[in-house]
Amino acid sequence: MYLIPSLIMFGCGVYGFITRKNMIAMLISLELMLNAVDINFAVFNRYLFPAGHEGMFFSLFAIAIAAAETAVAIAIIINVYRVAKKVDINDITKMKF
């Protein structure tokens, strides 16, 4: 039951990552996916294995990792914007095949 929101979030994230053209929007989609994973771990821990805390710890670490990933990705997107003046993925296609 509690899995439904996390699965919907994950699906939206994948869909958004594939269809969005703006890199910031893609990053937001990635965040959705990572948050869906966190919810998943918390739900499994709470309902399947209430005796342990492994899933909770895993989601704590996953949150920290997601924050680090966002920081790095934002920095790189800002750099791209500085040199290209665009953050649209249709415009940063200099290297192909």
Binding site: L30, F41, N45, E54, N79, V80, V83, M95
Partner: protein, 489 residues
């Protein structure tokens, strides 16, 4: 609960690497500006001393409540990665002191050492949490390293592509891990998971397995997940590209082996072996076919490294002691051959800015030594005897064939045919250097002594590793002693 601090003494390689990192960091932060030019050499020498000390034997055991494994195999693969990193650092000295990079040269060394630490964690992890932390520690700083050439637009484009695909694939892998957690009985220790994952394969777990393979397959640039590789290799600074192509790949391959064999080895061997079977065939073939049409040498080596990753996976699919030994041997040989090729490319790119095959026309006339090293590297990558590449391919085929199943024989045959195809494009480079002539060939270069030393080490490695048989023997002795890992299958 009390932590037993003596456990830290059983992870000397990690502590040594952290010590080198701290030394470099302190040098970068507190030494006066006039001495900063010595930082690259200082970092390289410190790492070299640590690399030599790393060969001291370590104690074996499971640390930190079974989360961290220290045994001879992890010791050996860490030493192999150390050798590769040392060559990369050696070749980077001159580049790090060039005008544009010099202002941030400390960061380059610190980030490289940190990613290496993450790879150590990945290799030694016996719990999925440690593995994930190691994987992210290894891949996030690499994204910033790819964006290191601040003035080149390509560098930023490559970094953006790299970081977005890296986060996407790690999100997919984490989703798979959450399903593994749900079906595992409440913990993610490798040795306990192996006991839980038994009996009839469940569909959800197969899905989870596919997610995990996709996540690590991205790091290894196996084919359905390889699209970032060529762009990132082309856009990144050549030093970072060489690091990405050998060290990052080698560590991920080893961790992949441990996860597949130890966690999913018991009940799911059939499932993942067939998944990997398909992946290997398309990886080797697609990598080869795309490499033929590349004119930029860095992109060319990117596709060649994709197909080499397919060969490395042959050791994983074998899933026995010979497979593991030949995989580590393959990684060692691949480090020397690829770093030789990238070393030559880096020297020529730094002096002239030329990176396409046509620019190498007539290189033998003007720079016979560089052309010679490049030729050795190409022969070794292509697998021509008596160079090391031939022996590594031979052992990895033997390891796969030892499983004795007909399907794997077919796989080895396909890999063999692909080796012949790959000779074509490796020899195209040799032909450009030795046979074709050009009026405006690259002028005579004088490489810095550090670069020359790096190339000498690679050359000696390519020639000697195949002939000095004790290297492979010691590796296979190490893996033969690991009864615990392969007992599952």
């Amino acid at each position: 609960m009390n932590l037993d601090y003596s456990q830290f003494l059983m992870m000397p390689q990690e502590l040594g690497l952290l010590a080198v990192f701290l030394l470099v960091f302190l040098y970068d932060t507190f030494m006066p500006k006039s001495t900063q030019k010595g930082l690259p050499l200082f970092a390289t020498i410190a790492f070299g001393i640590y690399m030599i000390l790393g060969f001291l034997p370590v104690k074996e055991g499971l640390l930190f409540g079974d989360m961290f494994q220290a045994d001879k195999a992890t010791w050996a693969i860490k030493n192999i990665l150390n050798i590769g990193t040392f060559i990369v650092l050696l070749q980077a000295v001159k580049w790090a002191n060039s005008d544009f990079v010099s202002i941030r040269r400390g960061e380059f060394y610190e980030l490289i050492l940190l990613t290496l630490f993450g790879m150590y964690l990945m290799i030694s992890a016996r719990h999925f949490l440690v593995f994930v932390i190691g994987l992210e520690t290894a891949s996030l700083p690499l994204a910033t390293l790819v964006a290191f050439e601040k003035k080149y637009y390509e560098s930023h484009e490559a970094a953006a592509k790299y970081v977005l695909t890296a986060v996407f694939s790690s999100a997919i892998m984490l989703m798979g891990l959450s399903f593994v957690y749900a079906l595992s009985g409440g913990n993610l220790y490798f040795n306990q998971l192996a006991c839980f994952i038994m009996g009839e394969p469940s569909l959800l777990l197969i899905l989870a397995l596919a997610f995990v393979i996709a996540g690590i397959g991205f790091k290894l640039s196996l084919v359905p997940f390889h699209l970032w590789t060529a762009d990132v290799y082309q856009g990144a600074p050549t030093m970072v590209t060489s690091y990405l192509s050998v060290i990052s790949k080698g560590s991920a391959a080893f961790a992949f082996f441990i996860i597949l064999v130890q966690v999913f080895g018991s009940a799911y061997a059939d499932v993942w072996q067939w998944m990997l079977y398909a992946v290997i065939i398309i990886t080797i073939t697609v990598g080869n076919l795309f490499a033929i049409r590349q004119r930029n040498l860095k992109r060319f080596l990117a596709f060649s490294s994709i197909s080499q990753a397919g060969y490395i996976m042959l050791g994983v699919i074998a899933a026995n002691a010979v497979g593991m030994a030949s995989m580590m041997y393959y990684i060692l040989v691949y480090i020397f051959s690829n770093l030789a090729a990238f070393g030559v490319i880096a020297v020529i790119e730094r002096y002239t800015g030329k990176v396409t095959t046509d620019d190498y026309n007539g290189l033998f006339k003007t720079n016979p030594w560089l052309a010679f090293v490049m030729m050795l590297a190409m022969f070794s990558l292509g697998g021509i005897p008596p160079f090391a590449g031939f022996f590594s391919k031979f052992f990895i085929f033997v390891g796969a064939a030892q499983t004795g199943s007909v399907a794997i024989y077919v796989l080895v045959l396909i890999a063999l045919i692909n080796t012949i195809i790959s000779l074509y494009y490796y020899l195209l480079v040799v032909k450009a250097m030795f046979i074709r002539q050009d009026e405006c060939a690259i002028p005579k270069l004088k490489s810095h002594w550090t670069e020359a030393t790096g190339l000498w080490i690679c050359t000696l490695g390519i020639i000697l590793i195949g002939l000095v048989s004790c290297i492979y023997t010691s590796l296979s002795d190490i893996t033969a002693s690991l009864s615990g890992v392969f007992g599952m299958i």
